[in-house]
C-alpha cells in the first residue's frame, strides 16, 4: 500500500495482559515515530527511530513499554502488563527523515484495557 498501515485497528485486552501493536511504514522512509493520543487530546511522543541510529526512547512512560524496528522497516510497540491508564489511540508515523520532512500517519490502533 501507499500509506502507513497499523494493525490491529482496535484491541481490547484485560488488565495485566501483554499487547503488541504493529506499524508498516511507507517504503523508503527512514524515520518512524510512535505517539499516544487520549480522546481529543494532542499527541504524546513515545519513541523515534531514525535509520540505523539508536532510537530516542525518551517518551516511553514506563519500562512496561518497548518498541523495536526490524530491518529498518516494520515496527512493533509492546506494552507488558497493561493497565487501564494505557487505554488510548496509538499512532505510528513515518517520514523521509530529513529535517522538517512531513510525517505520514497511520489511522492508529485504539487500545482499550478493561
Amino acid at each position: 500500500g501507499a500509506g502507513v498501515s497499523q494493525s490491529p485497528s482496535n484491541k481490547v485486552t484485560e488488565k495485566g495482559k501483554d499487547v503488541e501493536l504493529r506499524c508498516d511504514p511507507i517504503s523508503g522512509h527512514t524515520a518512524l515515530y510512535w505517539y499516544r493520543q487520549s480522546l481529543g487530546q494532542g499527541l504524546e511522543f513515545l519513541i523515534y527511530f531514525q535509520g540505523n541510529s539508536a532510537p530516542d526512547k525518551s517518551g516511553l512512560p514506563s519500562d512496561r513499554f518497548s518498541a523495536e524496528r526490524t530491518g529498518g522497516s516494520v515496527s512493533t510497540l509492546t506494552i507488558q502488563r497493561t493497565q487501564q491508564e494505557d487505554s488510548a489511540v496509538y499512532l505510528c508515523a513515518s517520514s523521509l527523515g530529513t529535517g522538517g520532512s512531513p510525517l505520514h500517519f497511520g489511522n492508529g490502533t485504539r487500545l482499550t484495557v478493561t
Partner: protein
C-alpha cells in the same frame, strides 16, 4: 524538556466567522508544522514553516511563523463546517530530532 503550548484548546464558532489558533514555546524551533486531524484518522500535514517571519497561505488558512521562531499562528478566514477538526502544531527543535506536538485545538464550525 521542550513544551509546546497551543491555545485555545476548544473553539466553537458559526460559519463565516474568523479565528486564530496560537502555538508558543520557550525554545527556538528549527521548523514548525501544522496538522489537521479528523475523527478515526491520523493527522494530515497542512504546512511547514521554516524561516522566522514566514507567512504561508493555503486557501482560507494563513500560517505565520514568529520572527524569533518561538511561536506560530494559524488564522482561518470565513470558517466553514468542513474546517471542523483537531488542529495540531508540531515543532522540530533540531534537524535530527523528534517532532513534538502541542495539545491541539478542537474546532467546531456550526452552519
Amino acid at each position: 524538556t521542550q513544551l509546546l503550548e497551543q491555545s485555545p484548546q476548544f473553539l466553537s464558532i458559526q460559519e463565516g466567522e474568523n479565528l486564530t489558533v496560537y502555538c508558543n514555546s520557550s525554545s527556538v524551533f528549527s521548523s514548525l508544522q501544522w496538522y489537521r486531524q479528523e475523527p478515526g484518522e491520523g493527522p494530515v500535514l497542512l504546512v511547514t514553516v521554516v524561516t522566522g517571519g514566514e507567512v504561508k497561505k493555503l486557501k482560507r488558512l494563513t500560517f505565520q511563523f514568529g520572527d524569533a521562531r518561538k511561536d506560530s499562528s494559524l488564522h482561518i478566514t470565513a470558517a466553514q463546517p468542513g474546517d471542523t477538526g483537531l488542529y495540531l502544531c508540531a515543532g522540530l527543535y533540531n534537524q535530527g530530532g523528534k517532532l513534538i506536538f502541542g495539545q491541539g485545538t478542537e474546532l467546531s464550525v456550526k452552519p
